[in-house]
Structures are given as C-alpha cells and as structure tokens.
Amino acid sequence: MLLHTFNHGVHPPDFKSLTNGLPIRRLPFAASLIVPLSQHAGKPSTPLVKVGEEVVRGQPIAAADGFVSVPQHAPASGRIKAIQLMPSARGPKTDCFIVDVYQAATQQELYEYTHDIDKMSAEEITQAVQDAGMVGLGGAAFPTHVKMKPPPDHHVDTLVANGCECEPYLTCDHRIMLEQPQNLLQGIRLIKKALGVEQAIIGIEDNKKDAAEILQQHLQENDNIRIQVVKTKYPQGAEKMLIKSLLGREVPPGSFPSAVGVSVFNVGTLAQIGELLPHGRGVIERVVTVSGPGVNKPGNYLVPVGTPVEFLLKHAGVTKDAHEVILGGPMMGMSVSALDVPVTKAMSGMVVLNKDDPDLKKGQTQPCIRCGYCVEACPMQLNPSMLGMMASASMYEDMQREYHLNDCFECGSCSYVCPSNIPLVQYFRIAKSVNRDMAAKNQGDAQ
C-alpha cells in the first residue's frame, strides 16, 4: 500500500518498544517544585502571588502578560518559597517560583470552576484555552490560543491533530491516544468549533496502528474527523511535512500552516484541552516518556510541571554508565548540564544515554565529500552540504541570503546521515544565532 508521506527524510531506529506497552503512571511530588515564569514562546508571565504565600493545587500563580503569553498554575499545594533565578534547560537562568510542596497534603483539592462547554462561543473557548495556560505540548511550547486566531487573511479549513510522534524513544502521544481517546476527540471538537472548520484529520504514523483503531472506535457519527495513517519516517511529525503528507499542501517558506488553511495541534495538547476545559483547570501536569538505555525503569509518567529532572531520574533510576541526559527526543532534544532544571509544559520526553552507547560514538569530523546524503535527507529540500561548507568558512550572511538558512527547522536529518560526521545542524544554529544578533544590532544602529 502506498502510504501518504512527504519527500526526503530519514529512518532512524525508533526504540519505541521500550515504553510503548507501558501505561501512563503518576509520579509522586518532589519536595519542592520549580515553576518557571516563562515556559512558553512569548512574554514571561507576571507573578500573582508573593513569596511566602500559600497556594492551592491548580491555583493561577502568574497571569499572562499580553496576548502571546499564558498564565501559570500551581502544580501542587504548598508555599511559595522564593521567586529566584534558576537554570533553565536552554542555558540562561530565568525567574522561577520555588514551591515547597506540603508533603502532608492530599493534593486532592483542585482549584477549578465548571462551565458548560457546549454553550461556549468560539471566542470564549479561545479565552478558556489561554486561561488554562495551554501551550503546544508537541515541543515548541507556542501558546495554543494564538494559533486559534489565524491572521484574518488566512482562511483555515482543516484542523490537523498531530499524532505522528516521529522522534525515536518517545511514546507519550501514543499512550495518550490509547488511553485518553475521549479527551482527544473532545479537544478536537472544541478546537474545531473555535476555529470554525469543517474537517479534522488525525495523522498517525503506521507504527501506531493500534492507536488509530482505538480512535476509530470512539468516533461519533457527525464528527467529521478522519484518521489517516501516514508512513513512518522522520520528521513526519513536523507540521509542514504532515500537512504535505495528509493534504498535499506545501506551506510556503516563512509562512505558518494557516497560510494553506490548516492548523496543527499535537494530540497531547488536544487531549489536555479536552480534559481541562470543561473544568476550567490549568495545565499543571503532563505525560513524559522517560526512556533510553541509561534508564532502569523506562516508562510514561504523569509528571507535575516543575518537577526537577533529578527527581524524575531518581525515580526512574539510572544505570551507572548513564552519561547524557536529553530533554525531548534524541533527534531534536537538548542535553542538559544542570539536573535541577524543571520539567516544563513542553517537555515530552527524557532520554538517558550510556557512556558506551554506540550512538554517542560519533567519529571524528571529516571534510564534506559531497556525497549528497544530506541533500537527499533534508525534508525542507535545502542544500545542507553547501550550507555546512559555508558555515565552516563563516559565511553566515550568504547562507541566509542565498541558501535559505532560516528555512532550516533543525530537524537534524542531515547530521544524522552525514558520513563525514559533520555537525551540520550545530553549524546552522551558530549561523542563525550570529545572524540574529547581527540583525538586531543593525536594527539598533539604524534607530
């Protein structure tokens, strides 16, 4: 059978069998939780509570600062011990709430209110999504409600639920689809209503056919939701690729999916919306896949936001050879140095690799031999070979001007295939970061 798919891409081993059979389990609360004021793309939230104040689980503790921002909710009942600079996974220190969790508390009481979601208007749903502190759980942490208000000149006709989960090791979306089909479909219905679109498509890679079947069973008559199995290939889950696979539409460079009439949401995001919105709750926990050869008890855990990575690791147990901790999947995730960084809303997985893991043994970097593997792999159809050579000659501006550097979404396919072990993506990140700085500087100079 010819499966729907996109051009290029790669086939890394998926390692999903480590966790895809394990049901989601709840993780205990850590002694203190670290809730960053900025867990999303956009402006950091503004604190609503003072140091020393008591908070109840689910209570809003920070408010959105403007449209592209979301509120934060207390992930546990306890006391705000401090608001201070703490390391973040990306490096810079950011302001965080430190919540001392009341160990004695049952953590049952939830701060919530109920609305009748069936009666809500599109506007109200969007507002409710923002109030819930929803951000994209697929990894980008982009505030969900912003995506629900496409630019007025874009007519959105299709909602796509992204259930591809193409990253190796990760299975949290798979588990959510298996265990919470109702929530997911409920979420889709809500967003469909809010966006005013007719059809919705759930895109699922063909290595998760069981999820597709379960969802199929829960579909209702007039849902107009289609489940589409797509080819297992990395990065099938990237929204541009998925849209191409499902609908044959190509999002133009530099545009958002709404330019071709599509909105894409991660299935985790949609399931949480389906679950939280009827109760007016906020995002305070998420499912995290903990996996990799360095973990003793891999699995899918329901983790309160703010739990230190260290706590999670201790709970899952690491081998003595554990050597590298990756937040997210191995293709796009980032390894962290400080283990006191917290689990944030966008963190879908944690992969621990061992010291002698063959995957870590990247050989010595050699010059590009122009084998063209990377060109064949790049889903954006860029020319990573050329870009890489230009990067090592520091021709950053030319990379952007002539070779579409900024259209690279850092999927890592090119580095994955390069037989010369050239850290292409890393070069591109350097180039982009220098270009960004220079652009900012030139803008500053101009003013």
């Binding site: 490096g91 390894s335 070069y427 990140r429 350097i430």
Partner: protein
C-alpha cells in the same frame, strides 16, 4: 613608389592620426567627462585596505571619500600607522585628528581555575555552539565559555586564550573593530578607551553565595566598592557593580581595594586586583561537576 614618398605619407599620416586622436579625446573630455575627485583614489591607495570598519564607515573607500570631503579626519583609522595617516593629512592639508586609543575589554574573569563547569561540552569548538547547548555547561550563565570565538574572529590577532581559557586582548594590536563584541554569545566584550582603567570584570546577575558558588571571582553585589566610591562613581545595579564613566576622572586604584572577590580591577600594565581579594592559588582547571 619612391621610398621617401612613402616616408612622407607615413609621417603625415601619423601626425594626422595623433591630431585626430587628440581631438577626439578633447571632445570626449568636454562632452562626456564625469567629475570625480582623483584624490579619492590616491587617498584610498594610502589606506591599509583592511576594510575593517573601525573608522565607522563601510570600508576604506567610503572612508577615503569622507576624508576628501573633509567629513572625517585621517586619525580615525586605527589600523594605519600614524606616519601614514600623517602623510594623508599632509596630502589633504587637514589636521591629523586624534582619537583616543580604544580597545576591546572583557567583562569576565572566570577562567577555568575559578569558575565551575557542570557538563562536559562535546561538539564544535565554538562558544556560540556551546551556548546553544544548555548554556555550554558553564556554571555561571553569564560567564565566558572559553572556546575562543573571539580569538578566531579577530583579524588582527589581538586576542589570545590564556592558560585558564580566558581571552586576553593585546591592546597594541587591537584596532577596535568590534568584531569580538559582535561574536561573543555572552556579550562580554565592549570597546573602551584605554583611560577607562577601573573595570568590573563580571556580568553575573546573582548575588552573594549564589554568585560566588559558581565562580570564585564573581561580583557578589556586596556593595563595598559603591560605599567607598566618590560621587556615585560606582553603584550597584541589578546585583552588579556599575561604573559611571562620565565620572572617570574620579576613578582611582582605591576603588578596587575593598572588593572581597577581585571582580573589580584596575587596568594598567596588566590587570591589578585589590589587596583584599581572595588569593587564587589554584592553577589547573576545576574538575567538571
């Protein structure tokens, strides 16, 4: 044909030919010439062709145009030798114009022997790249990563990495082109006149223990320097000592004396720290934690 007739034809022809050429050129000069000051070319010849932009223009040619137009003075070029600039000044009949020597200065003293590292960064040898990988593993999120992007980018070899993996600027070679300022992912370089001798070599925004935990020479915002300083020459802002260079004439070596960590320094023939600063005995790098 008689040879002399041929000779006469030839000479006459050449004379006519020369006159014709000359007339054409005369005409062309009258009708077509577009005026462009020849001095620009000549001045450009005398410039170093480094096109570094240190003079504040888009390159040597642009600088030459501005020089000839009298908008700038030759002294602005910091790459050329002073003698050569004098030649230009004489040629154009203008003042040499002087410019205080400006140099690049680093706001970090956290070498590998005093600043902690949490992770073992493995990847491209580049600060930019390391900064993007969870901050490169350096404990201090503001400090120098020590992989030498600045050294690489400096066209004038004015930066070398010392044995603690901290960049050091050779003032004599630095042309103040600003490339290192642009490249540093942690924004640690700035261009300063040599007369700015008092200097805070830290950008850590934490205070007290938190700051000193990560780096033994961090500014811990204790405020003693500010207390001492005349007329608010030094103040504490956002957990960091800040020097108001508009009052630079008040600055003196006394200012560094009370700093407990040595984050505030005095530049004069090398870097001087206050007496009270903790002594740093360790020579080798701290182990990765």
């Amino acid at each position: 044909m008689a040879p002399y007739l041929n000779i006469i034809i030839a000479v006459t022809f050449m004379a006519g030919f020369g006159l014709l050429l000359a007339s054409v050129l005369v005409l062309a000069n009258r009708r077509l010439a577009v005026y462009e000051d020849p001095k620009i070319d000549e001045v450009e010849e005398l410039l170093p062709h480094a096109n570094c932009g240190a003079c504040g223009t888009a390159g040597c040619r642009a600088f030459a145009e501005k020089l000839v137009a009298g908008e700038l003075q030759p002294g602005k070029c910091t790459v050329n030798t002073p003698e050569m600039n004098q030649v230009i000044a004489n040629f154009l009949g203008v003042e040499l114009g002087s410019q205080e020597k400006i140099t690049a200065r680093l706001a970090c003293a956290g070498g590998s022997n005093v600043a902690k590292r949490h992770g073992n960064y493995q990847g491209v040898d580049s600060c930019r790249a390391a900064a993007l990988v969870s901050g490169g593993g350096k404990g201090c999120a503001w400090g120098c990563l020590g992989l030498g992007d600045c050294k690489e980018v400096c066209d004038f070899d004015a930066i070398f990495m010392d044995k603690h993996e901290l960049p050091q600027v050779i003032n004599d070679l630095c042309t103040a082109c600003g490339d290192c300022v642009d490249i540093c992912p942690r924004d640690l370089f700035s261009l300063q006149p040599l007369s700015h001798k008092l200097w805070v070599a830290c950008k850590n925004l934490e205070k007290g223990e938190a700051a000193e935990d990560e780096c033994r020479v961090a500014c811990n915002a204790c405020g003693r320097c500010a207390l001492d300083a005349p007329e608010e020459l030094i103040s504490i802002n956002n957990n960091l000592a800040v020097i108001d260079y508009s009052k630079n004439n008040l600055a003196s070596q006394i200012a560094i004396e009370r700093c407990p960590t040595g984050a505030i320094v005095w530049f004069d023939k090398g870097i001087q720290k206050g007496q009270r600063a903790k002594k740093i005995i360790r020579k080798e790098a701290l182990p990765v934690e």
